[in-house]
Each structure stands twice: as structure tokens, then as C-alpha cells.
């Protein structure tokens, strides 16, 4: 138990540090001065507020720590979360399926649902690579971009439709996964991370600079929307449209709802494939690879095939998601495929508790849904996103769902803490 005087002293030191940290940025501001030179303006009030908040935050944190130290630390929060997980997952699924059917729901919420489901799918796809096989991939957005641009280019030059392209995009992305996977087979840990990041950047830079093919930074316009058995969702409502066929009034919400169910189906497909694969030899080989590469090799598991299939299958789902993204937006440009996207998806996987399907879905809802609702705070949105990432990581380093049920077990499968699960070195 620390004494109040100590706490106050500590908080004041933090205040001093905060003054020096914030001084140049919040206390001063660069402005345009005379004849093109820069000038400085002062903002003492803002600086005082920031320093005051830092002191208060530090003081409250110390008080809370004292309080926590005196309390009996017998909270079985993790067990409770896991137990309720049995009900949360089906409840979420039912909510996801019925969301667009809620009477009077605003179209923008369904649209937000589409966005969240896209990230859920990306998270589940990356989870195969990071959560199951333990390969740290910082360039996952490359496969998302491959999927999106495959569809955009095929439809632009050859008039392919969404449903024709969807499998092609998956195959192309998987092929890129294998192609990029080969050179990195020998690399481990952070060397692997930086090369995957480099591949992500290479693909983005090539797309940006190959103007004659991809339109460069201007992107590709007029990507067709998906059709329902050949029926389009045209607002004009002429022959061959959904509204005309079913004799209903054309409404933008019809297309959003359709898109929502497509991405929901794709995401559930990803989840189903992952869950099935985990029980099969391939999935078990992935998890063995994550736990111990050398033991894995000495047991006769083919590392090359195991790593490449993880890359390929993860990439394939990234490709599907990319194809969907292109058809949803109807316009894509290289700006959508920056490193920040890879980082966001990786953050979703880690925040969810790497390897947990439900955790990834919850993390996607929190990380994508909450900032999207903060539209009014547009300029502070990413600032809040950054603060949230750091805070959540510090509070729950193992992610939301930090327990796991082993895929294979002798006798009854017991839930174990994820501290007992290795994160892989490949």
C-alpha cells in the first residue's frame, strides 16, 4: 500500500514529463507566417488541460492499483467468459443472420454490418496463418489487393461477372500465396514478418505505378455489382432487375442486404473450413508447426507443404474478401491496400486471442464498429484507434478470449489457458 504523498509526488513527476512531451506539440503550433515563412502560435490552455489530464490519469491509476492490490485476486473472469462463449457464439450468429431483417433498421447499419463482416472474414483468413500455423504475416493485405484487382481487371477488360470471378480470385490469391511463400520458407520470426511486409508494399507499389494496366492512383471505376441469378439491383427498376421481377419498389437497401448475405456466407464458409481443417491432419500439422518446428520436422511432417498450404489457404480467403470488397465499393484504388489495413487485420486477430474464432469476430466488431460509429469525430478517429490498441493490449495481452480448447485430446477436452499455447516462431 503506497502512501498518498508518494502517489501525489509520482503524479506530479508524470505531470512534468507530460509537460515536456506535450509542450512542443500541444503548447506550440506551426502556422503560416509572413512571406512564406513559418511562425509559431502558443496554446497554453490546451497544454494545461493535457498536463492536468495526465496528472489525474496517473493519480487514478495509482489509486486503482492500490485498491487492486488489497483485493482478493480470485476472479475467474476467463472461465466465465469461456462458459458464456457457449451462448455468445450462437446468439451472435442469430443476430448476424437477422440483422437486415429487423424492421425499420437503417440502411447505414446494414452497410456497417457489411464492413464488419468483411473484416471478420479477413480476420478468420489471417487467423489460419497467424493463429493456427504461427507464421507472422504483416502483408496480408497483398492477397486482399490481389483478389480485388483480379476481379476489377477481369471485369474491366473481359466483362467477367462477380460470380464468375469469385472462385478465380480465390485461386489467383492462393497462387500468389504459394508464389510469395516459397522464398520465405527458410525465414523465421521477424525476418518472415518483414519480408511479408515488403511483399505487401511491393504489390501496392506495382499497382500504383503500373498506370497503363491498373489506372494507377486513380483506381478502377464501375466495377459491376453482384447479380441475383442474373437479376441486377438497378434503381431504375427496368426489366431484368430484382425489383421488377419480384414486383417490389426498388430500394437501395435491397442491394445492401444482398451484399450483407453474400459476405456473411463467405465469412461463415471461412469459419467452417477453418474449424473442419483444424480436426484434419493438415490443421493438426499447422498447430504442431506453431508449437515446435523442430519437433514437427523430426516427426516427419513436411514443413514446406505445411507452411505453403497455410499461406495458400489464408491467401485464398483474403482473395475472396478482396473480390467482395471490389464489388461492394464498385471502385478500388491502391489507397485501400496500405500497411494500415494489414495492421488492422492483424490487430483483430491478436486482440481476439490468436486462434479463437469467436474472439476474432468480437474484436472485429469492436475495432471496426466502434470507430465507424465515431464518424462525427472524424479527425480524432485514428487517434482513438491507436490509443485503444495500446490500451487493450496492455490490459489484455492475450486478447479477449484467452483460453483455448485443444483440437485433439486424450479423453475429455479441457479448456486450457492460452499461456500454454506457443505463438510459433516461423
Amino acid at each position: 500500500m503506497r502512501h498518498l504523498a508518494d502517489n501525489i509526488k509520482d503524479s506530479l513527476i508524470v505531470g512534468g514529463v507530460a509537460f515536456l512531451l506535450f509542450g512542443p506539440f500541444l503548447g506550440l503550433q506551426l502556422t503560416d507566417g509572413t512571406n512564406g515563412n513559418l511562425a509559431l502560435a502558443t496554446r497554453p490552455v490546451l497544454l494545461a488541460i493535457a498536463v492536468g489530464l495526465s496528472i489525474a490519469a496517473r493519480f487514478l491509476l495509482l489509486l486503482w492499483q492500490d485498491h487492486r492490490a488489497t483485493r482478493v485476486p480470485a476472479v475467474k473472469l476467463a472461465a466465465a467468459v469461456t462458459k458464456s462463449g457457449k451462448y455468445v457464439a450462437p446468439a451472435l450468429l442469430i443476430f448476424a443472420i437477422t440483422l437486415p431483417l429487423i424492421p425499420g433498421i437503417d440502411n447505414s447499419y446494414v452497410d456497417l454490418g457489411v464492413l464488419i463482416m468483411t473484416y471478420v472474414m479477413l480476420g478468420w483468413g489471417l487467423n489460419i496463418v497467424v493463429g493456427l500455423a504461427g507464421l507472422l504475416d504483416l502483408g496480408y493485405v497483398a492477397f486482399y489487393a490481389v483478389g480485388a484487382y483480379s476481379f476489377a481487371l477481369l471485369s474491366h477488360y473481359f466483362n467477367f461477372t462477380f460470380w464468375e470471378c469469385l472462385p478465380l480470385c480465390g485461386i489467383l490469391a492462393a497462387a500468389w500465396g504459394i508464389f510469395l511463400g516459397f522464398p520465405v520458407l527458410r525465414l523465421r520470426g521477424d525476418y518472415l514478418a518483414i519480408v511479408t511486409l515488403a511483399f505487401g508494399e511491393i504489390i501496392r507499389l506495382v499497382i500504383t505505378n503500373w498506370v497503363s494496366l491498373t489506372g494507377g492512383p486513380n483506381g478502377i471505376y464501375d466495377i459491376p455489382h453482384p447479380t441475383l441469378f442474373g437479376l441486377t439491383f438497378d434503381m431504375a427498376g427496368g426489366p431484368g432487375t430484382v425489383s421488377n421481377f419480384f414486383h417490389i419498389d426498388p430500394d437501395p437497401s435491397q442491394r445492401t442486404t444482398y451484399l450483407y448475405y453474400i459476405i456473411l456466407a463467405l465469412a461463415l464458409l471461412t469459419n467452417w473450413v477453418t474449424l473442419r481443417l483444424r480436426r484434419q491432419p493438415l490443421g493438426r500439422a499447422w498447430e504442431a508447426l506453431r508449437e515446435d518446428e523442430i519437433a514437427c520436422r523430426s516427426l516427419g511432417i513436411n514443413l514446406r507443404n505445411t507452411k505453403l498450404t497455410a499461406f495458400a489457404i489464408g491467401a485464398m480467403f483474403g482473395g475472396f474478401a478482396g473480390c467482395f470488397f471490389a464489388t461492394r465499393q464498385a471502385f478500388i484504388s491502391p489507397d485501400s491496400f496500405t500497411f494500415i489495413e494489414s495492421a488492422t487485420v492483424l490487430a483483430i486477430v491478436v486482440l481476439g486471442g490468436a486462434g479463437s474464432q469467436l474472439g476474432v469476430a468480437l474484436a472485429a466488431i469492436v475495432m471496426i464498429g466502434v470507430p465507424a460509429l465515431l464518424q462525427d469525430l472524424q479527425i480524432y478517429r485514428m487517434l482513438i484507434f491507436g490509443i485503444a490498441l495500446v490500451t487493450i493490449m496492455v490490459v489484455r495481452p492475450r486478447g479477449f478470449i484467452s483460453t483455448r480448447t485443444p483440437s485433439v485430446s486424450l479423453g475429455k477436452a479441457k479448456i486450457i489457458s492460452s499461456d500454454m499455447i506457443s505463438e510459433g516462431h516461423g
Binding site: L21, L40, L187, D190, A347, Y380
Partner: protein, 302 residues
């Protein structure tokens, strides 16, 4: 010939800046084994403190004194940033899951970028050329190879900074404890080294080096915005990996190589694909030397 010489001069200048940032990456990696993604943004913060100090001192002091003040103040503020970032975002996660500090670092990077953007504006900020002129190295059929004073200053300041840094790491008690913690943190702690303090100093020194690089970048290019940290950070990290992460001479070597590749690729091939060239060379080098140029080959015991 003259053209190649000019590219060589430009490449070395750029490489020195990358090398300075790469040293910070490689030090942190060596000592706690994490990729400090926020390091590139500390470099950007350094450049901004530099521009603020230079603006404040315009007309108050002479130009060399202003630059010196910018270097010292920027290094001080950034050292404090490095220290605070480690305390807030990384220390609580020490000994935890390997990906946790990585995500925390990515969060810190996003946070710093947007903090500078919201507090100082998203506009590019430019300063007039601080030290104009230079001297002519070579004149070949009218093509003048110029070595500007600024380039000389960058190389000199970088070499002096690296010299001080090498002295700290190899000769002082602090450097000894840093190397000890790098080799085996647990054993170092058993022998009475305060590992937490050593790690804090590592961040302080690395951030101060990044700040020097930031001010150099500002003076060399004259234009900065809140986003420069990302590209420079990725390049410097690439440099650290290329040289063999954890190796200090490797970081400087990697930085120089990346700078030279960029300069020569821009000069002889296409500017647009210079980053593609850098990343491709990284991938190719790592394919054949999976631990970088000067990296140690870890022997894994089972």
C-alpha cells in the same frame, strides 16, 4: 562517371540517415526482441521538434547555433518520448505473448502519427534552405558533381553521433550492462544489473539517434509532414534486417546499402520503382542469407 559519383554522394547521405534510424531498431530488437514499430514515428517527432525549434530561433541566433540547438532539444524531447513509450506501451507487456508488444507498437505508431497530425496539422511544412551552397567535386562535360555543405554536415554529424554511441556501447558501464542484457537478460539480472533501467536507457539512446536523423532529414529535404515516419521507419527496419538484426555495424551497413540502392535505382532505372527495388533486394538477400549480412546464426538447442 560524374553522374555515378553524384548518385554515390546522394546515396551515402541518405544511407547515413537510414543507418541512424536503423541503429535504434536493431538495439531495441537485440535487447528485448521486439520490432519497435513506433521508432519511425519517433524519427518524425524529432523532425517536428526540429522544425519548431528552428522556427522559434529564426533571427534570434546564428544558423549553426540554431541547428545545434535543434539537434540537442530534439534529441532530448525524443529521448523522453522513447522513455515514455517504453514505460506506457511496452513494459507492461514484457515477458508476455510475442505478438502483444508488436500490436502495441503498431498502435503507438498510429497514435503518434495522428497526434502530430491533429496537433500540428496535416499540411506539409517547409523551411528555407538552412545552409546553401557547397563545393564542386568534378566537372565532366558540363555535368557538375556537387557536394553540398548540408551533405557534408549530415555525414559529419552522423559519424560523430555514431562515434559517441559506439563509445557508450563499448567503453562505459552502461554499454556493458546493455550488452549483458542483450546476451542474457535473466543472467544479467542475477548478477545485479537493473535490466529495467538498462532497457529504458536503450530506448532513450535509440530515440535520441532517431531525433538526430529526423533533424538531418528536415535540413536535407526541407519539407516534412506527419507521415514521413512510416516510410523512413520501414526503410530503416529493412536496413536493420538486411544488415542482420541485432548487429550494430550491420544496421549502419544496411542503411548505407539501402541508401545506395535507392540513389542508383532512381538514377539509372525508374524513380517510381525504387522502393520495389529495395524490398526485392531485401527478399533476395534473406533468401540466401536468412539472418542478414552480419547477423549471427542462432543455433537452436532442443
Amino acid at each position: 562517371m560524374a553522374y555515378a559519383l553524384q548518385q554515390l554522394v546522394n546515396g551515402i547521405t541518405l544511407g547515413m540517415i537510414y543507418g541512424l534510424i536503423a541503429v535504434g531498431y536493431t538495439m531495441v530488437y537485440g535487447i528485448i526482441g521486439m520490432i519497435n514499430f513506433a521508432h519511425g514515428d519517433v524519427f518524425m517527432v524529432g523532425a517536428f521538434v526540429g522544425i519548431i525549434v528552428l522556427t522559434a530561433l529564426t533571427g534570434v541566433t546564428s544558423v549553426p547555433m540554431g541547428i545545434l540547438a535543434a539537434l540537442i532539444l530534439s534529441a532530448g524531447v525524443c529521448a523522453l518520448y522513447g522513455f515514455s513509450i517504453e514505460r506506457v506501451a511496452y513494459r507492461p507487456l514484457r515477458g508476455s505473448f510475442r505478438l502483444a508488444p508488436l500490436i502495441s507498437a503498431i498502435g503507438m505508431s498510429i497514435l503518434l502519427e495522428n497526434y502530430v497530425q491533429t496537433s500540428q496539422g496535416a499540411l506539409e511544412r517547409a523551411i528555407p534552405v538552412a545552409v546553401p551552397g557547397g563545393f564542386v567535386l568534378m566537372n565532366e562535360n558540363g555535368f557538375v558533381v556537387q557536394l553540398s555543405w548540408m551533405q557534408i554536415a549530415i555525414v559529419v554529424v552522423t559519424l560523430v553521433t555514431l562515434g559517441i554511441f559506439t563509445y557508450i556501447v563499448t567503453k562505459t558501464p552502461l554499454g556493458r550492462s546493455m550488452r549483458a542484457v542483450e546476451q542474457d537478460a535473466k543472467m544479467a539480472a542475477l548478477l545485479g544489473i537493473d535490466t529495467n533501467r538498462t532497457i529504458s536507457y536503450t530506448f532513450i539512446i535509440g530515440s535520441a539517434l532517431a531525433a538526430v536523423a529526423g533533424v538531418m532529414f528536415l535540413l536535407y529535404y526541407g519539407v516534412i509532414d506527419f507521415y514521413i515516419g512510416f516510410n523512413a521507419g520501414i526503410k530503416a527496419f529493412t536496413a536493420a534486417v538486411l544488415g542482420g538484426i541485432g548487429s550494430l555495424p550491420g544496421a549502419v551497413l544496411g542503411g548505407l546499402l539501402i541508401g545506395l540502392i535507392e540513389a542508383f535505382w532512381s538514377g539509372y532505372a525508374t524513380v517510381a520503382y525504387k522502393d520495389v527495388a529495395v524490398y526485392s533486394i531485401l527478399a533476395i538477400v534473406l533468401m540466401f542469407m536468412p539472418t542478414g549480412l552480419l547477423g549471427r546464426n542462432d543455433i537452436e538447442k532442443v
